[in-house]
């Protein structure tokens, strides 16, 4: 557990993008070192206050410690070392995976309902609502979830804002260009399932423009506010 003396160091290192596992161990080791120095100086006859003061000098000031830690780029979190991967490529991949999974889930719900539960398209019960919900998730919510997770990670790791903005914009554009539809027509005893997934790019239509703007606003406004708030808090004495 980090004592108050080193809590500030821990917070500043995390904000500077040092990987949490390194921060935790570095601070614990520096803290143990400080305790050893104090014990050594105490055994040499110094008072507790003098020992702590000299131990702090021998360890180095917080500024010196931070400068030395930041001089080792390999100690940064993977997201800070490869921001293009963490905040651009992975959100795009996350969007694609969510979209495909939600569509597969929609197909799975219909197949399960007809094959196992014996539900037909003439008396479908809640099945169309569940399918529409999954479609809506894939089309409307998945882009917000993918872009939002990337932006939250970026704010948490103190990454330059340009990467999550690029990632969020690309996710919003790709999400808006993607469409899915399912038709469960009452032909045949159990109905016929037809479906389609489409990618229309660039799509400058009203709906896709609205979806792009909605994703960007839903994600970026809270993220920019959160980032500003964190900066204000970190600048407090």
């Amino acid at each position: 557990m980090t004592t108050e003396r080193f809590e500030g160091l821990s917070q500043r290192l995390l904000r500077a993008g040092i990987a949490p596992r390194h921060v935790k161990r570095l601070v614990a080791e520096i803290e143990a070192h400080f305790a050893d120095l104090v014990a050594e100086l105490r055994s040499a006859g110094l008072s507790q206050a003098e020992s702590e003061s000299q131990a702090a000098v021998r360890l180095g000031t917080e500024e010196v410690l931070i400068a030395n830690i930041l001089a080792h780029p390999e100690l940064r979190s993977w997201a800070r070392q490869r921001p293009w991967l963490a905040f651009v490529l992975l959100p795009l991949l996350a969007l694609a995976v969510q979209f495909v999974l939600s569509m597969l889930a929609a197909v799975g719900v219909i197949v399960f309902s007809t094959q196992v539960l014996g539900i037909t398209s003439l008396h479908p019960g809640p099945v169309p609502w569940v399918v529409r919900g999954l479609q809506a998730y894939g089309v409307w919510i998945a882009p917000v979830a993918a872009a939002g997770a990337a932006c939250f990670l970026a704010v948490r790791s103190g990454a330059p804002i340009i990467w999550p903005i690029v990632g969020c914009t690309l996710v919003a554009l790709l999400g808006a260009a993607t469409n899915a539809s399912f038709e469960w027509s009452p032909a045949g005893p159990r109905g016929v399932l037809s479906g389609g997934i489409g990618l229309h790019f660039p799509d400058l239509g009203l709906t896709s423009s609205l979806r792009t703007i909605l994703t960007i606003l839903t994600v970026l406004i809270p993220v920019l506010w959160l980032r500003r708030r964190r900066r204000e808090l970190s600048s407090l004495p």
């Binding site: 570095l26 080791e29 520096i30 070192h33 410690l65």
Partner: protein, 101 residues
């Protein structure tokens, strides 16, 4: 001069495994206090060396306190050889200059 902490740490760890405070004390004693590092500087250097595979760590509880012990790896031994050779070349050059040969 930037490789000095790495050289000192690897040389000391090639003798035995140590934890950070022991290392700092060993550096002070074995260089007859000629080299004075901010002792906190050791830890980022140790973590970086671990990331590059030059040292490995294990936790040991001694007198109720958990210590992170560092030990040199075979990659660390090779790195020590390189740094030692480099340092000898530099020291030899400076010595030659000072002695005017």
């Amino acid at each position: 001069m930037s490789g000095i902490p790495e050289l000192l740490v690897l040389r000391l760890l090639s003798r035995q495994e140590m934890y950070g405070y022991e290392l700092a004390r060993a550096i002070r004693e074995s260089t007859r206090q000629a080299i004075s590092l901010g002792e906190g500087v050791l830890y980022p250097a140790l973590h970086a060396m671990e990331s590059r595979g030059f040292v490995k760590t294990r936790r040991r509880t001694v007198s109720g306190r958990t210590r992170v012990y560092y030990a040199i790896t075979s990659g660390g031994n090779r790195r020590l050889g390189e740094l030692s050779g480099e340092w000898r070349r530099i020291a030899g050059g400076v010595r030659a200059l000072l002695e005017g040969t």
